[in-house]
């Protein structure tokens, strides 16, 4: 029911006569879910994947939820009034979908204690603020395996943004998985100190290609790296979304972020009253991470190896950060046979042996 003035008067009038009936009537009102997006929904990257998640939520819980979203929200103080606006519009569950919204989410949440907030990739929680993240590194283990098997120069590249745990984890997982199938692998790493600058991303990829890298992964926001790979006749991967349209020959596969299952589960939790401010870290197993179809360039044995990594991750028998893992200086960081703890991963600020940066 859309709330018009006439409806409102009617509802209020009924409320006077039949309070008990109205309470159950309100319970059937759809849950309003708000989303705060960093970029444009058409970016075919980070924001696009969250938007797909929103659509999946709307589809799965038809009639039970309504959704709102705001695009192009900056990671500064201007995000707070936008979040408050969403809360005032009656959204009872709000997802803030970028790391840089951390303190803003907490600030807005303090003023709207009856609204449930969920902050993506953050670590600060409150009574009504939960956090969620995806095990992106699980996808890196798959692309690393493919890179290690397909590189002829034994040199693979990585164009990163900033030295933050999320990116460092990706570099390390990519490198470790590649070394597992090809011990001679070295990873050349360029951090470009920005999330978005297509020209610089392209120049970094060209530089890596010039230095002998024949497979290049990226953790930046545009498909520029893939376009350079296409031009240089080497290989690359999409990140977050299938980017094969930008580089039909170079694009081997992509790790896909599918936020839908998570958004559906959280909306259900709010609807049945079981929502708690959790810290959720899902991956392949829970279905928020998947791989895009392998391209024709990926041979059968490589496909099989990559599929084995995915299957092992799902059933829990494989984890790329299983020891022994040594850092660049040779110091042992994870003892043989042990798995790295989540807490250690989330503060990772060192590169594994074989990363040249």
């Amino acid at each position: 029911m859309t709330l018009t003035r006439r409806n409102f008067v009617k509802t209020a009038a009924t409320g006077l006569v039949l309070p008990a009936f109205v309470r159950s009537g309100f319970a059937a009102e759809p849950l309003k879910v708000g989303f705060v997006y960093l970029g444009a929904i058409g970016d075919y990257g980070w924001t696009w994947s969250h938007e797909q998640g929103r659509k999946a939520l709307l589809e799965a819980l038809k009639g039970q939820v309504l959704t709102n979203y705001v695009e192009n929200v900056k990671e500064d103080a201007s995000a707070v009034p936008i979040m408050k606006d969403l809360a005032q519009q009656g959204n009872k569950l709000i997802f803030t979908t970028s790391y840089g919204y951390m303190d803003q989410t907490l600030e807005a949440a303090k003023q709207f204690p009856d609204v449930k907030w969920e902050h993506c990739t953050g670590y600060k929680r409150a009574d009504n603020v939960g956090t969620y993240n995806s095990c992106f590194y699980q996808g890196r283990a798959v692309t690393g395996t493919i890179a290690g098997m397909m590189s002829k120069t034994n040199t693979i590249g990585f164009v990163g943004s900033f030295k933050i745990p999320e990116v460092v984890m990706g570099v390390n997982a990519f490198t470790l998985a590649a070394q597992a199938v090809n011990p001679k692998i070295a990873t050349k790493l360029v951090m470009i100190d920005t999330w978005f600058d297509p020209a610089k991303e392209a120049a970094a990829a060209e530089t890596l290609a010039n230095l002998g890298c024949d497979v290049i992964a990226q953790h930046v926001d545009s498909p520029a790296v893939l376009q350079v790979c296409e031009k240089r006749k080497i290989y690359g991967f999409g990140y977050g979304a299938d980017m094969s349209r930008f580089a039909p020959k170079a694009h081997l596969t992509a790790s896909l972020d599918l936020w839908g299952p998570y958004y559906i589960s959280r909306a259900k939790a709010v609807l049945d009253g079981s929502w708690k401010p959790d810290d959720t870290w899902w991956g392949f197993k829970e279905g928020i991470l998947a791989m895009a179809p392998y391209s024709k360039a990926v041979p059968d044995n490589v496909r099989a190896a990559a599929d084995k990594i995915i299957a092992g991750t799902k059933e829990g028998s494989y984890d790329v950060f299983t020891g022994p893992v040594a850092d660049q200086s040779g110091k042992e960081r994870v003892p043989a046979g042990e798995r790295m703890k989540d807490a250690d991963m989330l503060v990772m600020d060192w590169y594994v042996k074989g990363v040249q940066s």
Binding site: D43, K188, V190, E206, T207, A209, N210, A224, Q227, R245
Partner: protein, 313 residues
């Protein structure tokens, strides 16, 4: 370090430098006529989306001519957007700095609006038009391996240098920038000359923008020029308003930016990566300090830069 390696690095430098050089060359002409247009970034974005949209929508019909038509459209779009600035700043005498900033904000918004439907699309890159056998070996590649826009940028900077210093029309343009009242009193159409200079600057900014969406990464993404317009503006000051130094300065910036990437990829981790990223700007400050310490001798800043001219006031 082999020859092929150095040549490949050089090709990256050229790719990084060309759009900045194009935009700065256009801005140099505008500033020489006494107008400072801070809208370069916005005009570049309008050029970038125009070129991409034309190449994407009409590419199949135009065939081989598509990228050329796209770049011409970008130049026209850049020039047209600069006319908005010109009407406000010249005819209506508004503050040039504020109007230029407004043009940048407008360009960011307009390009995002037009570009919304083009995100996620791609077109063939506007690459070298020389036959493959010329670009096969490294030496051939360093001479013939570029997009036509690279040769155009080099040609334009020489042409502008020649125009400003060796032609009568260039002399008149400089006179308008140095002393608009005198130029007006001896009968030169000050405003018309400035309109033309701004349009030229806008056209080159538009072409510079098309270099992003047609050559470096054949795609459209919001704000894909990522601040290069501001570097172009800084470069004009850096060059002391001289075409020769503009060319050297642009390549100096390009080499530093590329060195940053090579240093990181080769593992020079003794310096933090932020230091490498800041390097071009640190060097710019150093060079500017050296220039100003030597007095204004090397600088040819136009005296009327940024000052509105109202002939009937």
């Amino acid at each position: 370090m082999t020859l092929a390696f150095i040549i490949d690095a050089l090709i990256t430098v050229v790719g990084v430098t060309t759009p900045i050089l194009l935009a700065a060359t256009g801005e140099l002409v505008a500033e020489k006529s006494g107008v400072i247009n801070l809208g370069v970034e916005g005009m570049m974005l309008i050029g970038a989306i125009t070129a991409f949209a034309v190449a994407f929508d009409f590419g199949p019909d135009l065939g081989d001519a598509a990228p050329w038509v796209a770049v011409i459209a970008a130049a026209l779009a850049g020039a047209a957007s600069s006319m908005l600035f010109a009407v406000l700043a010249l005819t209506l005498g508004s503050n040039q700095v504020a109007t230029g900033l407004a043009l940048t904000i407008f360009g960011i918004g307009l390009s995002s609006l037009i570009g919304a439907g083009y995100v996620g699309m791609t077109v063939p890159a506007f690459d070298s038009f020389f036959p493959e056998r010329l670009t096969g070996d490294p030496v051939g590649r360093v001479v013939f391996g570029y997009s036509p826009l690279v040769y155009f940028a080099l040609f334009m900077v020489f042409a502008v240098g020649w125009f400003l210093n060796r032609t009568r029309a260039g002399l008149v343009l400089r006179a308008v920038g140095e002393n608009d009242i005198s130029a007006h009193s001896i009968g030169y159409p000050v405003l018309r000359i400035r309109y033309a200079a701004i349009a030229f600057g806008g056209a080159l900014a538009g072409i510079a923008g098309s270099y992003f969406s047609m050559v470096i990464t054949p795609m459209w993404a919001e704000q894909m020029t990522a601040g290069r317009g501001w570097i172009a503006l800084a470069l004009v000051v850096f060059s002391g308003w001289r075409a020769g130094r503009l060319l050297l300065g642009a390549y100096f910036f390009g080499i530093l930016m590329t060195l940053e990437l090579y240093a990181k990829a080769s593992g020079f981790s003794f310096l933090p990566s932020q230091f490498w990223a800041a390097m071009p700007y640190i060097m710019a400050v150093v060079v500017l300090a050296v220039i100003s310490a030597r007095g204004v001798a090397g600088s040819e800043a136009p005296s009327c830069l940024g000052r509105p001219f109202m002939p009937n006031a």
